[in-house]
C-alpha cells in the first residue's frame, strides 16, 4: 500500500505493508538505523522519534499512521557535519556509555527542549521516564540536558 512519509524534511513515496511499524520502515526501508529496537513494546524507549513535535515510540505506531506527519529521527540532529548542542553535551558529560539507548534518549530530550527550552529537573526526568539506560544511571544524562539549558 502506498505511503507518503515526511522524515527529516524529506518526502518519501513508499510501498509499505500496513502491518509494519514506523520503526520497521525507518530502519529497513529508509536505512535510518539510528533508531533502535529494544523491547518492542514501549518500555525501553530506544525507538523514540519525534512526530509533529512530540516524542513517541516508533515501535508502537503503524507506519501508515504516520502519513502526513513530520517525523524527526536522531539522524536529523547533526547539521552539515556539526553535532547538535544536545549531542555535544551528552559527550561532554559522559552521558553515552554503551550507546544503545542514546538515540532514543536524545530524541526524548530534544522533544522536551523544543517545547520547553528551560525545563526543571523534574520535567527532564518525566521526559525521559520512558527511556531505559542501564549504563549511566541517568544522572549524567540529566546533567547533559541541564548543560544545554544553561548555555
Amino acid at each position: 500500500m502506498a505511503l507518503e512519509l515526511n522524515v527529516n524534511g524529506v518526502d518519501y513515496h513508499l510501498e509499505v505493508n500496513p502491518r509494519l511499524r514506523l520503526l520497521d520502515v525507518l530502519r529497513d526501508h529508509l536505512g535510518l538505523t539510528g533508531t533502535k529496537e529494544g523491547c518492542g513494546e514501549g518500555e525501553c524507549g530506544a525507538c523514540t522519534i519525534i512526530m509533529d513535535g512530540v516524542a513517541i515510540n516508533s515501535c508502537l505506531l503503524l507506519a501508515h499512521q504516520a502519513r502526513g506527519k513530520k517525523i524527526l529521527t536522531v539522524e536529523s540532529l547533526a547539521q552539515d557535519g556539526e553535532l547538535d548542542r544536545l549531542q555535544k553535551a551528552f559527550i561532554d558529560n559522559g552521558a553515552v556509555q554503551c550507546g544503545y539507548c542514546t538515540p532514543g534518549m536524545l530524541m526524548s530530550c530534544k522533544a522536551l527542549l523544543m517545547r520547553n527550552p528551560n525545563p526543571s529537573e523534574e520535567e527532564i526526568r518525566i521526559a525521559i521516564e520512558g527511556n531505559l539506560c542501564r549504563c549511566t544511571g541517568y544522572t549524567k544524562i540529566i546533567r547533559a540536558v541541564k548543560d544545554v539549558v544553561k548555555k
Binding site: 502491518r19 514501549g42 508502537l60 503503524l62 499512521q65 520512558g130
Partner: protein, 297 residues
Amino acid sequence: MEEMLFKAPNDIEELVTALKDADANTYLISGGTDLIIKLRKNRIYSGTIIDMKGIRSLEYIREESEHIKLGANTTFTQIINSPVLQQHAACLAQAAGQIGSTQIRNVATVGGNIGNAFAGADCIPALMAMDAQVKVICSKGETYVKNVADIILGSGKNSLRKDEAIIEIQFPIQGAGGRTAFGKIGSRSRVTIAKINIAAFVRLDGSKKRIEEARIFLGALGPRAFRSEIVEEAMVGRTISPELFNSFAAALTAQVDAAIAGRSSQEYKREAIRGLADEVFCKLFGDLSQEVKQDER
C-alpha cells in the same frame, strides 16, 4: 508477506463507511500502543485495520451545557494539560498523568483506553467516578450513548460490536462541593501498570465538613474496575476527621479482602491499599485541615 488491509477514514462519514464491512478480523486502532503489541504477540498478520487516529475532528475537550465532552482521539497528554479537566475532573487528569511514559501519553487516547478494556487501566475508574458515558457510532451511522461500565466487560474485552466505534466520552460537570482524586500503586513509582488504582468522587456539604455523596471505584482487583459500596458506606454522612481516614483505610482493606479473597496477591494488596488510602485522602481533603490526617498507621 501477508498484507493487512488498512482503512484511513478522515472524518465520521468515512468512518461509518469503513465500519460497514467490519467483521471478526477487523481491528480499530487509535493510539496503537496496546493494539500493536497484541497483534504482534498473537501473530495476527491479516485482516483489516481501521485507523481512528486520522480523524482529527475527534480530538477535543469541550465544556458544553453542564457537561465536559472529550473526543475519542484525545491523548493523555492533552488531558493532563487541559485546565478544564484539571478543574472539573482532577481524578482524570491525575490518572492520565500516571499512564505509561511521556511517549505513550503523547499518542495513547482515552477512546482507545476504554475499548482496550484492560483490568488495570487507569482512566477507566476515573471516568466511572465522573459518571462518564460513551458515545458510540455504528455502521448505519446511528449513535447511542452507553455507560462506561456497560462497555467494559473486563480482561481486555468490550461489549461493542465489530461495526461500532467509540467517538466521544462525556460526563456531567459536578457542581458545588464536588472533589475528585486518583491514586495508584504499581511495582515502581512511574511507567508502571497498576496493581491497585482508586478513583474517588465526593461531594461535601456547604460547610465543607460533611460528605454528602461518594463514588469510589477500584481497578486491578478483578477483571474490571468496580464501584465499592463498602468504602462509600464508610464515608457518606461522615465528617472529615482523622477517624474518617481510619474508617476509609479500613474499608479499603475490607474491600480488597472481599474482592480477591484467597488470591496470592491478597496479603500484599490489603496492606498496600492503606498507603493509597493516605494518598487519595490527602488529595481529596488535604486543603481543608492540617489535622485531618492522623499519622497513626
